[in-house]
């Protein structure tokens, strides 16, 4: 059996000095060779692992024939953001995790192939899908993965879709969260252009709930609404010293660098200050992104502080490996106790205590238990807190009648995204809590289908019930 292709990567000593993409993707030769490895299973399991139902077998078959444009057209039937998914999906847990080749050897590099097709197809030659307008108006709140996926699919179903975004650029976490070296802005821009080309309209600088209320959206004639506002509320640890100058949430740290381009200060106005040493608290992908960003900003020593053992790190193995290659130090089985600061309030150190692992907790991971009298201090100038996020608040605090879960997320049907308010749907992190880009896109896709059915059913009945009335009845 032939071995799986490897994408070329920027060498660690070079990439730590730039923000360019680390993974350089495949060459045409590599991509076709890899496509040829695909068994073209009669019943492909890989597709069961794809939340957005990409016709993996078919796009690989086209690629094998060298038909890259056709391959992209096949992917786009289900996924409007393949260049993004090819880069940031955890394929090892999804399509590639189910590939039969993986049982005895290495699964097909589906992610790299998807990315190759999306990057190299001649998009200008691809005809736009022909869609018959339905005349229904749908509002999508939030332009992150869930919103974009829902918007694109709704547009493909013929609906008149407007996406409202509170930031000045679209993309949500794809824009403010995931760093340039993992997902270049130009890739996000290009996929956004495609979504726009489907007829989706974007309104920036509109915080639904504040700039315009949901009631006002109904009044403006929107017949269905999809909320994909995400989990962008940063959690803090609640330890002493956490409000010292030099303590960032991962969101702030990454937003300054990614959305506001603070790494180009003073060309760009927004500054970021990191000092020589940076500690990042947390072990997820966001923590890896923050640590690797700190390396590129010139920090001499970057330490990830994680309370369980390396085995439990929730980040993708690939990202952990990238971070290690870039010189990030992992201080595992350590839990922050307090942050030390100078008289002026500037961070000087992070006091941690040693942990040991006990029995598995509700998440199935072994829970960390503090070891008494084991405190130690890591000298540092900056602390980045990357311990998770909660539901974005702006919409929720101004949303009447829509039920929330006990944890404060929108209570929505996992399959359809329907909420208790007819016509109001939700999906992605605002429903599930922080998860993956692709899970949110899957939710957006399923909700689009449900919204379409909701709108058309109303049409067949000859009446469109405007949910504003239902809202006020509630």
């Amino acid at each position: 059996m032939k071995t799986r292709v490897e994408a070329s990567k920027q060498a660690p000593h070079i990439r730590v000095k730039n923000f360019e993409e680390v993974n350089r993707g495949l060459t045409l030769e590599q991509a076709v060779l890899e496509a040829e490895r695909c068994l073209q299973c009669k019943k492909p399991l890989c597709m069961d692992g794809c939340p957005v139902e990409v016709p993996i077998k078919e796009f690989i078959a086209a690629l094998k024939e060298g038909q890259i444009d056709k391959s992209l057209a096949i992917i786009r039937e289900k996924n409007s953001l393949p260049a993004i998914c090819g880069r940031v999906c955890p394929q090892e847990n999804q399509c590639e995790g189910l590939c039969v080749l993986g049982r005895r050897g290495q699964p097909i590099a589906i992610g790299l192939l998807e990315r190759f097709v999306a990057d190299h197809a001649d998009k200008s030659r691809l005809p736009r899908p022909e869609v018959e307008p339905t005349g229904f108006k749908v509002a999508v709140i939030g332009s992150g993965p869930a919103g974009l996926s829902a918007a694109a699919d709704l547009a493909l179903m013929g609906h008149d879709v407007t996406v409202f975004e509170c930031l000045h650029e679209a993309g949500g976490v794809l824009r403010y969260g995931i760093p340039e070296f993992r997902l270049p802005t130009s890739v996000v821009d290009e996929e956004l252009e495609y979504v726009k080309s489907l007829g989706v309209k974007f309104e920036m600088n509109v915080a639904v709930g504040q700039t315009i209320t949901v009631e006002q959206l109904w009044d403006e004639g929107y017949q269905a609404i999809f909320a994909g506002t995400g989990a962008g509320l940063p959690y803090f640890l609640g330890i002493p010293g956490e409000n010292s100058a030099g303590v960032y949430s991962a969101n702030e740290f990454l937003t300054r660098v990614n959305l506001m381009k603070a790494y180009l200060f003073p060309e760009y106005d927004t500054p970021i200050k990191i000092g020589r040493r940076v500690c990042v608290i947390g072990g997820g992908n966001v923590a890896m992104d923050a640590a690797r960003t700190a390396v590129r900003l010139g920090a001499e020593k970057v330490t990830i502080v994680y309370r369980r053992s390396p085995k439990e790190l929730p980040a993708r193995a690939e990202e952990v490996e990238n971070a290690l290659e870039e010189g990030v130090i992992f201080e595992c089985l350590a839990s922050p106790v307090r942050i030390l600061a100078s008289d002026e309030g500037a961070v000087t150190g992070l006091v941690c205590q040693r942990m040991t692992l006990g029995d598995p907790d509700s998440s199935g991971r072994r829970s960390p238990i503090p070891i008494p009298d084991s405190e130690f201090t890591i000298s540092t100038d900056t602390v980045v807190v990357a311990v998770g996020q909660g539901p974005n608040q702006v919409l929720l605090r101004n949303l009447q009648g829509v039920e929330l879960t006990p944890r404060g997320y929108i209570a929505a049907d996992g399959e359809t995204g329907a909420t208790n308010v007819p016509g109001f749907y939700a999906g992605g992190d605002i429903v599930t809590g922080a998860a993956t880009v692709i899970a949110a896109m899957g939710a957006g896709k399923r909700a689009a289908r449900a919204i379409d059915a909701y709108l058309r059913e109303d049409k067949l009945q000859g009446t469109v019930t405007f949910p504003s009335q239902k809202l006020t009845q509630k």
């Binding site: 000045h168 600088n205 915080a207 504040q210 700039t211 315009i212 409000n243 760009y268 309030g345 702006v394």
Partner: protein, 279 residues
């Protein structure tokens, strides 16, 4: 894009802008703010809404040239467009009938306190305004405030108008003279708001302050604007910017505000140099 429709210099380096922003005006409440960005390279800065007119779809902001973006904005004229304008952000203050309300403001704080005073007056409160400035020519919004206040008390640092000294001295004297107020709101520099709260605490007067923390997105996503209120972390952008002044940790706020001072100076110097190069 939001069009500037009017511009008026109120005092040296302090300018009022009327901006066409129908949606923001439609939903604005006193105490809320906007986030503005002027260029692709620009930073996002929060500015309090000083007034809004729903009929005309216009909001008013009053801006002092203190940094790069505010200096850049000063060059904008009616007809020019602001690239990005988000709002109304924050929660606004509670407007209800308290009785007699002291509105204490310093410097530029007079502009953001005005819509609150106006709304509180409309809700049936008697407004006593205490307004301070460095010097007589730097009073802003004093006429507007006078129009909704039953009493105006002035103070200037140089004694050129009203009391010679801090506006908080005037407030203290007023309260010590036995006159009472049921509620105080304070907007101004942090040391001033802190001083107001120290006084009103002695007299047991509930006091609302408006904080101007550093923020990036203004929608609850970065946490850069976090402040400690009653020992709890609050975000100025979505929980505030108005808070119970007796519960705010002002020293922490001051410390956090200073964090980027050096970079702010650098950015401004660079901007000034570049302007010098053009002209």
């Amino acid at each position: 894009m939001a069009e500037i429709i009017a511009k008026r210099r109120l005092a040296p380096q302090i300018t009022l802008y009327e901006i066409s922003a129908a949606r923001i005006a439609q939903n604005a409440r006193p105490g809320q703010f906007v986030i503005l960005r002027l260029s692709e390279q620009g930073e996002r800065i929060p500015l309090t809404i000083a007034d809004f007119d729903r009929e005309r779809g216009v909001i008013t902001i009053v801006v002092q040239e203190v940094g790069k973006t505010t200096m850049e904005l000063a060059r904008y004229e009616p007809g020019d467009h602001i690239l990005d304008l988000l709002g109304p952000c924050g929660t606004g203050i509670e407007i209800k009938q308290y009785g007699r309300v002291a509105c204490v403001c310093g410097g530029l704080g007079a502009a953001p306190i005005y819509p609150k005073a106006k709304a509180l007056r409309a809700a049936g409160n008697e407004i006593i305004t205490f307004i301070g400035a460095q010097t007589a020519e730097r009073f802003v919004f004093s006429e507007e405030l006078a129009a909704v206040s039953s009493e105006m008390h002035y103070a200037t640092d140089d004694g050129s108008y009203g009391h010679h000294g801090f506006v908080t001295d005037v407030l203290r004297k007023y309260l010590e003279s036995g006159r009472t107020v049921d509620k105080a709101i304070a907007v101004g520099p942090v040391p001033m708001m802190k001083a107001v709260c120290e006084i009103t605490k002695q007299f047991d007067i509930p006091t609302t302050v408006s904080l101007n923390a550093i923020m990036v997105d203004g929608t609850g996503m970065c946490g850069g604007c976090r402040v400690t209120v009653v020992g709890e972390i609050k975000f100025s952008c979505i929980d505030g910017p108005s808070f119970d002044g007796h519960q705010v940790d002002f020293d922490e706020l001051t410390m956090r505000q200073r964090f980027y001072r050096q970079q702010e100076q650098e950015s401004m110097q660079r901007h000034v140099c570049r302007l010098g190069g053009i002209e």
